[in-house]
Amino acid sequence: MGFVSQIVRDSEVFAKNRADMLALVDEMRALEARPIALSEKRRERMEARGQITPRDRLAQLLDPGMPFLQLHGLAGYCVDVDDPEQSVPGASLLVGIGFVSGVRCMIIVDDAGIKAGAMVEMSAAAFLSAQDMAWKQNLPFVHLVESAGANLMEYKVEFWANGGKLFRNLARHSAAGLPNIAVLHGPSTAGGAYMPGLADYVVGVKNNGMAALAGAALVHAATGEKANDRDLGGSEMHASTSGLVDYLAEDDAHGIEIARNVMARLDWNKSLPVRRSKEVQPPKYDADEIAGLVPTDYRVPYDVREVVARIVDGSDFEDFKPGYGPATVCLQAVLNGIAVGILGNNGPLDPAGANKAAQFIQLCGQADIPLIFLNNITGFMVGTQYEQGGMIKHGAKMIQAVTSVNVPKITLYIGASFGAGNYGMCGYAYDPDFLFAWPNAATGVMGGEQAAGTMEMVARAGFKRKGIDPDEAKLSAQKAAITQHFTKQENAFYTSGRCIDHGVIDPRDTRRVLGFCLETCLEGRARTVKPSSYGVHRF
């Protein structure tokens, strides 16, 4: 008869959970709004130049009403300045997967409204992550370019050294048969200039589009030549003289229109097999209820099946080995008509749970069924009983299974994700196809209090060994400092700022995000691309 929800919608607990969760969602949206507001300040200036703003460019590029999945929306949060109040997330980029002329593609838009689109500390990380995802999912790439290159004031040698990968990836994608289209909207010098340089198709916008290895100032400094920017790298010059620009556009909107047309003419989906159409049943339970059923404090237990019932088709699933290692939940379900295996946690991983999970992962691998990891895991169980029960080897089996299974893997941090539990549940280092966090998620090697408590024990042992009385004031200060150090870093917005996930999502969007990711994975794997030994050369 299927799963029956135990949630009481009009309970106080539900109301509190919901208020807490929505407050976090609001916080996330407020952070996302910061770069928007900052960039928006340049609107007048850009429009006076006949340009449209980077976000308007993105909206104009996308197919109306087709889904869009933002990636790395909080990149750089607390990295640009270590102050949650002052930090502006986004890393001067707009990144996401969306549809252009019916083609699912990876899109990057330089946020030229912020410091002329100059790359900042986390820009390369977000950019490389997007390229990596495009690579894995066989996605064409569209880049709306207007970037002053790297910010010289923030120069660090490793940025430059690592930054080379951006261009290597462009060349690699081209050779692999993944086309990339660049629209040159504004001044793009140095690294910015190699973005169009390595694109397969370049659209240059008249009057504003400009690409040069060095702008007039640097040229003057380097050679003494008094050049002007339009002659050095104007779109018109590149379209007629250097041959860098393939299509010359009247203005930004026209450039985007041309990019859309170029994409349409790729006939990109020609090799995609038609998917057997299935009647998709919405969940019986309202996805909106997720906000009310999940406590934002991961210490408060709840049944992860309640979440799954609000994600999967018809709220229907099969419980695999429910009586064995019951704290580890393995469910077979269907999402948007796609069969999936879902792993969730109702408690720590114990030997039985790790065994069950490893078996379940292998079964999904056998039948080529995508895996979804709903992380709410404080870790592998510790203690004599568990060590003697082989926790290490059973945990190792799970990690081996996760590492080796060759199916799409989508990880969501929906609560805690600590220690090796994170590894077993396909955390960042396990290279899931997609990795998103809810705003209440907490990740790290362990919880702050655990860490502080552990360190306190070590310190007390030290005092005791030395035969002196513990300095309680010092201990308490140390405990507070450690707790704060850990807690700050486990925050979902903080981790997302470091690009160790693909972004933070509204929990109520979970079904749609998972559906989008699954469909992206399926398309990517079903597609045949035609690699050649070299990227397409620009003659």
Binding site: D56, D63, P64, G65, P67, G102, D506, R511, F516, E519
Partner: protein
């Protein structure tokens, strides 16, 4: 005289109308058609169809020998000519008879007598039928015609002696305008009827156009089926017809009916005919002309008299005596007909051509639509721009009128501009409602046509939503695996995106944001939540904020056509890059519509003033003067007489001074 196969030597709605009756009588039917008409419904409806030419009427529907050949080839025993084309061509009628076939119409001699307006008028005067003072002599020189005109007095009508149905008929207010009118009328008469003879007639002002439907058999019986009033005319083209006339009394009907019968008897008439009169407010009436064929507006008579006139025509042609006598004729209620033309009332009634993207005829109690078109067909430039007739019947004139108002709204044609808004406006005009309209009503009330409908923000929001729905559907059809619940969703806020439209000459920008199931659209600063549910065949139910709207639509890549009330709105999306196209220089003279050039008077080097006639284009059987838009010197003339042009072709260039 009996026959089992009937060839219909016509096209459009009348061919369909005749086919319907012929088939109901158990006759085998043969249609003729041209390449331009290959998709027309009369071809599909007939048992057999014979191709008779490319497009131009001179090579097809006016080619008597081809039509007779087609009849012989298919074993047709009779030819029904419909109206227009060869229907009032005595030689054709004679040739049909000579080929041993039955012509569904009067004897050639009656056609000839009534077809020559001058002869007819003399004949009627002799028979004691009251006629309008005028000139119908053989002297046809410009000077002679001018002299006669001055003698009769202005305003005056210049008509083709061989004409009918308003073709080649022009009103002249003063002597100065006469030479130009004579020249145009003569050339129109020549091209339409093959004879340039003109007659002059005193223009009777504030008169009503009243015509009597008469029927005669070969056994000496002549009856009338009451009158029709056709006063609602635009430049002598009938637009609305009704039966009975609001101005009629039983006494006057008896009196005029008797005169009409007399007129028919005077030429030994047989079959269906129409005797046209002008009726002055005083009750005085004048014989105008007799049309020796079935009229366009015959359905209003059919609806009040309860008779099938085509069936009667066929029965009389087969030699039967009329099955009804004058005493049997009773008129039941009231019927009104409007003619749906492919022309733009907001743009000088320019004939329109184009595809018929959507077609739906109204239906319902008391409503009849006679149409000769079907969805997917093109309105070609070769033929009359009348596409359909919408007729409503009711126990009273007011019921018929209100039914017709609804029927005009419910008859939906998209793809080509029509006069539907004009028809709607007339039907609701107080003069029409009160039955006071005379022949000057339209030209006085709508001297500039009907102003274009001004779209409101709601219409624009709907157009935006329809185009975006289509974009979304197209993207999804191209895309790989996208579930329905993904549509309209984004994981993070996107700004609204802009769409730019042209509605007529106005550029409109909207901004839109997708939502699951619909759009939020900003027009002129206000926002509208729009969601559309598509039904079959372009029908849409849209929810715009709290309002639900049903509309017929036709959406292509960059156009949204929407039927709202009687209006047929066309929004064109302007793509970036296509925006701000070069403005057309004032000195470039372009063809306003497709057509053939019948005159090119401009010569290189000539000094011209704004408004000067440079060329004459014939399109949809009407002649259109092409005049200079600026003062200047003609620098080049790119065209010559006889050339077929597309709309927008450059004819002449003028260096503006």
């Amino acid at each position: 005289m009996t026959f089992d196969t009937l060839l219909i030597a016509n096209r459009g709605e009348i061919a369909v109308r005749i086919l319907r009756t012929a088939r109901s009588l158990g006759l085998r039917t043969v249609a003729v058609y041209t390449t331009a008409d290959a998709q027309s419904p009369h071809v599909d409806l007939a048992d057999e169809a014979i191709w008779i030419g490319e497009g131009p009427v001179g090579d097809s529907y006016l080619k008597a020998e081809k039509i007779i050949e087609a009849a012989q080839e298919t074993g047709a025993g009779a030819i029904h000519p419909g109206y227009g084309f060869l229907s009032e061509n005595a030689e054709f009628a004679a040739a049909v008879g000579a080929a041993g076939l039955t012509f569904i119409g009067p004897e050639p001699e009656a056609i000839r007598l009534m077809g020559d307006k001058a002869v007819a008028k003399r004949l009627m005067t002799d028979a004691g039928v009251p006629c309008v003072p005028g000139y119908e002599g053989d002297e046809q020189s410009d000077t002679a015609l001018t002299a006669k005109a001055c003698k009769i007095g202005f305003p005056i009508m210049v008509k083709a002696a061989a004409g009918g149905g308003g073709r080649g008929m022009r009103l002249v207010q003063s002597a100065e305008a006469l030479p130009e009118t004579i020249s145009i009328a003569r050339s129109e008469a020549e091209s339409a009827f093959g004879s340039g003879g003109l007659i002059l007639e005193k223009a009777i002002s504030d008169a009503r156009h009243i015509e009597f439907q008469i029927f005669a058999d070969g056994h000496g019986n002549v009856i009338h089926l009451g009158e029709r009033e056709c006063s609602v005319q635009r430049r002598h083209q009938k637009v609305i017809e009704e039966a009975p006339s609001p101005a009629m009394t039983p006494e006057l009907r008896a009196q005029m009916g008797a005169v009409a019968i007399e007129a028919a008897r005077a030429v030994g008439y047989c079959g269906a005919g129409t005797v046209e009169f002008l009726l002055e407010p005083s009750g005085t009436f004048y014989f105008l002309e007799m049309n020796t064929r079935l009229q366009v507006e015959h359905p209003v008579t059919e609806m009040v008299a309860g008779l099938d006139l085509v069936a009667l025509q066929i029965s009389v042609a087969q030699g039967d005596a009329l099955s009804v006598s004058q005493e049997d004729i009773t008129l039941d209620g009231h019927a009104i007909e409007v003619r749906l033309y492919a022309e733009d009332p907001a743009n000088g009634f320019l004939p329109a051509i184009g595809p018929i993207d959507f077609w739906q005829a109204a239906s319902g109690h008391g409503v009849r639509v006679d149409a000769g078109i079907q969805q997917g067909q093109d309105v070609s430039p070769f033929y009359d721009p009348m596409l359909a007739k919408i007729i409503a019947h009711g126990p009273t004139r007011e019921t018929a009128r209100t039914r017709l108002v609804m029927a005009v709204k419910e008859t939906i044609l998209l793809g080509t501009v029509t006069n539907a808004p004009f028809l709607d406006d007339i039907l609701q005009h107080k003069f029409f409602i009160s039955g006071e309209a005379t022949t000057t009503f339209l030209d006085r009330t709508y001297p500039e046509g009907l102003p274009a409908y001004e779209v409101n923000a709601r219409d624009i929001a709907l157009a935006t939503a329809l185009l975006l729905d289509a974009d979304q559907a197209r993207a999804r059809a191209t895309a790989g695996y996208v579930s329905a619940d993904q549509l309209g969703w984004a994981s993070a806020a996107l700004p609204p995106f802009a769409t730019t439209f042209a509605y007529r000459d106005t550029e409109i920008q909207t901004r839109a944001l997708a939502r699951p199931g619909g759009w939020t659209i900003w027009v002129y600063g206000d926002s509208y939540d729009v969601s559309c549910t598509k039904c079959d065949n372009g029908k849409v139910r849209a929810r715009i904020n709290a309002q639900t709207v049903d509309a017929a639509t036709h959406i292509t890549h960059d156009t949204a056509q929407i039927a709202i009330g009687p209006e047929r709105l066309i929004f064109r999306r302007l793509r970036p890059g296509a925006l701000g196209a070069e403005p057309v220089a004032g000195g470039r003279v372009t063809a306003p519509m497709p057509g053939a050039l019948v005159e090119v008077s401009a010569k290189p080097g000539q000094n011209v003033s704004k408004g000067d006639r440079l060329a004459v284009l014939e399109a949809m059987k009407m002649q259109h003067q092409i005049t200079a838009g600026v003062d200047g010197v003609v620098t080049s003339v790119h065209v010559e007489v006889g050339q077929q042009l597309n709309a927008g072709d450059v004819l002449i260039e003028i260096d503006e001074t």
